[in-house]
């Protein structure tokens, strides 16, 4: 399936959960990342049970200071 991750189209396996997507995409510091799915915030306890579908838009966000969001 195709996903839009941080604005870029990415090919990925079907039926991934957010947890498995983090592994597949080799997301750095997965314990620190926050995730939005189609504009909705996904709470960490739901990472294992949220199944992704073709065309989903995912944002990986960090708010560690300097990490991911910059200082606008």
């Amino acid at each position: 399936m195709k996903l839009i991750i941080n604005g870029e189209q990415v090919d990925s396996k079907d039926n991934l959960t957010i947890s498995t997507l983090l592994v597949e995409q080799k997301v750095k510091m997965p314990e620190m990342v926050s995730v939005e799915l189609n504009g909705q915030f996904v709470r960490r306890p739901d990472f294992d049970t949220t199944v992704l579908k073709d065309g989903d838009r995912i944002e990986f966000l960090y708010f560690m200071g300097g990490g991911g969001c910059g200082t606008d």
Partner: protein, 413 residues
């Protein structure tokens, strides 16, 4: 996972290298990277990573993750104290000319921040009686940018109608900030009732042992910052999404003010959280028993505890906190001299400025926490000259009662 399990396992699975089961204490100022490009990418926001402990630290991150899960929030920033948490929220949301609406019977330190410090930056606070929800609506004007309450006002012990005040705040597109220090997520998760930002002094029940100062800011995810009145946060939401408020704090306000916790203190808070569910239950049980004992005592002038049958907040305590009234109560012996004699006669309970410790603590608020306010101001805050505040500990109740019994006897002799 259930709350009691999150208190122990939330935010930390295990130490991958050596299998340590306790959260590691990263006693470090900074974090080295092999290449100049890596660090440049982190500064530029292209990659995640730690830069400097004033901004983020792995031990503190574990605490933040645990608090996020306990409050069912979307993120958390741990601070060096509860006051640093409230100051960060205020500095992050308010500009000169803006106004706060706050409950009047709240912590003296918070009142001082609002009245003495923020007024220096032309920020005004309108205080309203938390018992009268409609007064929050009446106080709203176009300059209002925050509504602020404590779940239980300390020391007036009033319990605001959080659900109704959240509706009033949201109607005016104002974020609703709730201080959950006295009740903790084990009595209430204010976000479930509409609160947008939850703040804590983690030095109290969360730490539980009077060993470290700390605080926290949690975004519950209820407020839509993309449509809020805060231009800079609204702009940031295009990049940071729902986390735009916390990103604004982390990357600007919190970073610039420097109110970060020491890693060791974050560790102590994590350790305290593990036993909080059990402790808060005992705090509530002992406080309820002590309130009932004092209420029945023929020579006690008055007792104020939201869990008491006679309290005007009894029903709200049942609705919001599952009937548990917390670990704090106040009572009076008629005048200041008797209050002083009572405190001086205690053998077990400690006379000090703190609450939420495993030990029973007392204080005379009028001459200590509220000493800088005049009598008329104190009356408005619900602080009477004869008031004694008790943070009821988790000792055997019979020992607490015996200590109070002998001290009351001496005070009234």
């Amino acid at each position: 996972m259930k709350l009691k399990t999150l208190a122990i396992h939330g935010g930390f699975a295990s130490d991958g290298s050596n299998g340590a089961t306790a959260v590691l204490i990263y006693q470090t100022v900074s974090y080295a990277y092999k290449t100049a490009q890596e660090l440049a990418d982190i500064f530029d926001g292209k990659a995640g990573g730690y830069i400097y402990t004033r901004i983020a630290n792995p031990t503190t991150s574990a605490l933040e993750a645990r608090l996020t899960e306990l409050e069912n929030g979307i993120g958390c920033i741990a601070t060096s104290s509860g006051m640093a948490a409230i100051a960060s929220v205020a500095m992050g949301l308010l500009k000169a000319g803006d106004e706060i609406i706050a409950a009047s019977g709240i912590f003296g330190g918070t009142i001082s921040l609002f009245v003495n410090t923020l007024s220096r930056f032309s920020i005004k606070t309108r205080f309203v009686d938390a018992a009268h929800t409609e007064k929050f609506a009446k106080a709203v004007n176009k300059r209002t940018k925050i509504m602020f309450v404590e779940t239980i006002g300390n020391p007036r012990m009033d319990v605001p109608d959080i659900r109704a005040i959240a509706v009033i705040a949201h109607k005016a597109n104002i974020p609703f900030v709730v201080d959950n220090t006295l009740t903790t997520p084990f009595l209430i998760r204010p976000g479930d009732y509409g609160a947008d930002i939850v703040v804590h002094s983690t030095s109290k029940f969360m730490n539980g042992h009077g060993t470290a100062i700390g605080g926290a800011v949690i975004d519950t995810g209820n407020f839509n910052w993309a449509k809020g009145q805060f231009e800079d946060i609204r702009k940031l939401s295009k990049k940071a999404g729902r986390l735009s408020f916390l990103t604004h704090l982390r990357n600007l306000i919190y970073r610039d003010l420097g109110g970060c916790p020491a890693p060791m203190n974050s560790f102590l808070m994590l350790q305290g959280l593990e036993t909080l569910p059990g402790r808060i239950t005992t705090h509530c049980e002992n406080a309820s028993k002590l309130a009932q004992y004092l209420e029945k005592h023929p020579r006690i002038s008055w007792v104020n505890y939201p869990g008491l049958t006679g309290s005007k907040f009894k029903e709200r305590t049942a609705e919001l906190f599952g009937g548990r009234g917390g670990g704090l109560l106040t009572f009076g012996l008629g005048d200041k001299q008797k209050a002083f004699r009572f405190i001086d006669s205690l053998k077990l309970a400690k006379n000090l400025a703190n609450l939420g410790d495993a030990k029973t603590l007392v204080i005379h608020p009028a001459s200590t926490i509220f000493h800088e306010f005049d009598v008329a101001s104190r009356e408005k805050m619900g602080v009477t000259e004869d008031m004694i505040r008790v943070s009821v500990g988790i000792e055997d109740f019979e020992d607490i009662k015996a200590d109070f019994e002998q001290a009351i006897e001496k005070a009234l002799r």
